[in-house]
Symmetry: C3
Subunit: 256 residues, 3 copies
């Protein structure tokens, strides 16, 4: 899985990872990746956040989601964290970093949203996708959005065998809509001197690749000086089929 | 060749592929790829079209080219087709899909033109390339365009060993010019609900990669919702040197 | 390391490489790559240029740098050269090609600057980077620029293990600033019919990837018709950790 055999002679630096999942996922999204990081000697924490996992309440705000992660970090008294956000998790990492900057060693965004100050995630969607989300939201009874399988299959797990795509779809639940449409105050984030990395998987097509949209360079360059790591993968499949590869890329993004 | 070993445990779904080649090629372009698909259990059809292969008449229109493919499909009564177009073949796939939509399961464009309604292929070429094509066309006696070897070598088979480049060049013949300059009515195409995929090889430089030109995202995003599959290859070399890799990518693009 | 096993059956054509390093490097940058090319039967030359290596004088101009390379080539009477420039070395290749065009078989730019006529390298930097360079320049006593380690680590050797990054940083010295800010007359370069190639490593983030900046397609397409070769690497790391891979890519760029 690891592209460059010459990385092997160097034992991995031991890091403390906190992994923040995205939408249509819960903390189990990280199971394989966390195990691979753990096997390589790292400490790995996988907070669940409001409106996800076993939480029956889907009526949550972005602030509640962020509070879940901030509380997790402070209650466990974690320090020198490599704080990783995937997809929507990028916005949670942005807000979390504002609240506990001294506990964070480096921020890692993996095909994750990096919002401008005052933006919502929905502001960064192509018009057609945004419209689709708004329709799905309007048709739900509890202000959630559920991805239809064909959209999930072709955009989120495009490289997966059908069997894997179905297994991954089977465990997702409707996503609370509000946090995706809330505009976020990110003035503090853009003043933080915390080192930053961006991990980009080049088969990821959740956002179309090109000017005006996309993970890299559109989102990534908002970080200012950042470390770029590129891998061969899509938005979600590799968490299941190639967790050791993902773990290696996150390590490359997180190490000193 | 296949990037992710974890794909192996799942037996391949059996699909029916119809493979439509591009310019400066004939149906033999697909020989290795078709054999690799066939070995994996798929049905594979490789129509030749007007003005190509053994057809002595180079004075053909885009409609004649499309008719060849449509007739091939209807006469063999093919259904549930994965219809694949490479390069210029993308425009043939667009027009074919308009005529036999009910026979098609999914459209796959592999570094292929996806024209806007009312456009010609020539409209999508960078000005310099278009000028070059127009000069080559004007200097021919039968309204064809023959690629000079240095251009073919550096743009179409850039990753090939010289020996392979020469072998591939030896079998190409002058391309009928008219279909490349005809503007196509594609209103019906853009109403089709048929699922679509785009396969992009990132060393392909036939179209310069960037805004205003290029395969992905410039052409691909015209498909609306589509499944992206990315591979390491150029425009033509891998059909000869890596057919099993290409077959795998086409399968990933075509499967449910 | 080499991606396509089918390249192996063809013995490598024997070429004459002249390798021109970039900023914050000296001729030893090429040690591993030159050895790999030599092992494959090529002649390899690695000129040092003014202001670099053992030269104690940092007060140099772009013309002096170019003269070093031109003199090296003419004194050794080299012909049929594959002239390779890396990074800043691209600008040296441009000016050298103007002076000894008849000795050059092909120009190869590897994540290298290709300046427009009348531009300086600094004109191609994003505003923030340019500002940073100007501040570093102003704070030096001898009109040089020294990269701080965090910037070198995250931008130039982003994929490297920390140990490798430190080893590579330990040998770099302050870079003469003047040649980076001199505007170059390149009218002759843009009239040269010499074949050209561009080698792009997709984890290279020294220039942000996107419109207005970046190696490919922003710099590369200035070459007009060119052969593109893409590899998995960053700006400098692979010269140390994957020299055989780099050598293979330069060979693919340089062969007939």
């Amino acid at each position: 899985m690891v592209s460059n055999a010459s990385y092997q002679p160097y034992p991995q630096q031991r890091l403390t990872f906190v992994l923040v999942h995205g939408s249509w996922a819960d903390a189990h999204f990280w199971d394989g990746i966390a195990a691979a990081l753990y096997r390589n000697g790292h400490s790995v924490y996988v907070p669940e956040y409001a409106g996800h996992g076993v939480d029956p309440n889907k009526n949550v705000t972005h602030a509640m989601v962020t509070k879940s992660v901030v509380d997790f970090i402070t209650q466990l008294n974690l320090r020198d964290i490599i704080l990783v956000g995937h997809s929507f998790g990028g916005t949670v990492v942005q807000k979390t970093a504002e609240q506990v900057p001294d506990r964070i060693k480096r921020l890692v965004f993996w095909d994750a949203f990096v919002l401008n100050n005052g933006e919502s995630l929905a502001d960064e969607l192509p018009p057609q996708t945004r419209q689709g989300f708004e329709q799905l939201r309007a048709s739900s009874k509890d202000d959630t959005i559920m991805l239809p399988f064909p959209l999930f299959r072709d955009l989120f797990v495009n490289t997966a065998p059908l069997e894997v795509a179905k297994q991954m779809y089977a465990v997702i639940t409707p996503e609370p809509a509000k946090p995706l449409f809330e505009k976020l105050d990110l003035k503090v984030f853009y003043e933080l001197p915390t080192p930053k990395s961006y991990v980009y998987f080049y088969q990821d097509n959740v956002l179309p690749q090109g000017e005006g949209f996309g993970w890299n360079p559109h989102m990534s360059t908002r970080l200012g000086l950042f470390r770029l790591i590129v891998g061969d993968g899509d938005h979600m499949t590799d968490s299941r089929t190639g967790p050791a590869m993902v773990a290696q890329k996150l390590y490359e993004a997180g190490r000193d």
